[in-house]
Symmetry: C2
Amino acid sequence: NIVMHLSRKLQAGPLTGKQIVITAGPTHEPIDPVRFIANRSSGKMGYALAQAAVELGAKVTLISGPVALEAPPGCNRIMIETAQQMFDAVMQNLAGTAIYIGCAAVADYRPTHPASAKLKKSAEDDLSLQLRLNPDIITAVANAGERPEMVVGFAAETDDLQKYAQHKLQQKSMDLIAANQVGDGRAFGQDNNALEIFWEGGHKSLAEAPKLEIARELITLITERYHAKNSI
Amino acid sequence: NIVMHLSRKLQAGPLTGKQIVITAGPTHEPIDPVRFIANRSSGKMGYALAQAAVELGAKVTLISGPVALEAPPGCNRIMIETAQQMFDAVMQNLAGTAIYIGCAAVADYRPTHPASAKLKKSAEDDLSLQLRLNPDIITAVANAGERPEMVVGFAAETDDLQKYAQHKLQQKSMDLIAANQVGDGRAFGQDNNALEIFWEGGHKSLAEAPKLEIARELITLITERYHAKNSI
């Protein structure tokens, strides 16, 4: 193991010395101290991407929402809970980042006024929970002064996968988007995934496979696109 | 182990032959196929109670929300997701139940109109999510025609623990209530717990200890109260 570790250290990988920031997992948006809005992301895909990037020599910062996963060896993990905390952690780690991969399922909205004490059941049968738009992390990254050379996003869609993914790619000034079909038990929480990957003028399908395998293929593709962009 | 198993089978415990229904964990209330309202319950306390009851010879049905825990050996586990599903599973298992322990952190409210496709971010900065009151499981159990002889509830409170617990005990016609302080990282998700237990004319404090230890003390107390009630 020490030999493998050293040989990996000594071999220059295609991402050696490159700083990569990866977000993973869900965000939790508090309603009160015990309740929150969540989503079905398990973090497995983002963690697999972190491992695959470390394998190619990258210096990986993994910014993770609440998940029950071990950090892949060799990456720097920062745990956060809310979309706002994820936004702040990403912005603080943007300087010198070559590749940004936004794999987290960030909540679009948060409760506007989270309560500091547990809310009691009201006398009313119907309630209305006020929600406020969260900051859009990937748009902020793609428009930052210190914009990473590659900005990669994810789209998890239940319908019209290609249409939404290509729209999101352009609208958010990403370099590449990886889209997956969710709902009916697909992708979220599962060990397998399948991806449709789009970039300006290109498309690649990755058929269903274990997430680590899919992650290695995606990181390889991102690395190719990164070197292609930098050799122009 | 086979010997221990047999000797446990042959020894009549104080709950031998008694049917106990225990609810555990959070409920998830869908907003759309990928988003939901959740709470911080890990299910550890309810699962510890199921184990402690099996140890005393009970026939345990554990009705559990989504958690990452193994079912304790010897109990019949039913996995559910929403409060409505938990309500239905409890009602279907009430006949012949001697003791009901409602340990789950059931969501009081659910989104009124869960969407069948993933909701897109709207143009609005502010949204309002309509919520509808969920059925109150323990009140339904305590008022059922086939009411279990002991109905035990939990109260997780951030403030005024004793006041809310004693109010809930009477208001919901429970026989016993176990209250714990939550918030600031206490109880939810932790391996330790501390309980304040109230019944009509009685009170007992269980100081902080591992959840399985607390569970054994609570099951012993419930068993005493059960036999006291049945010997009148």
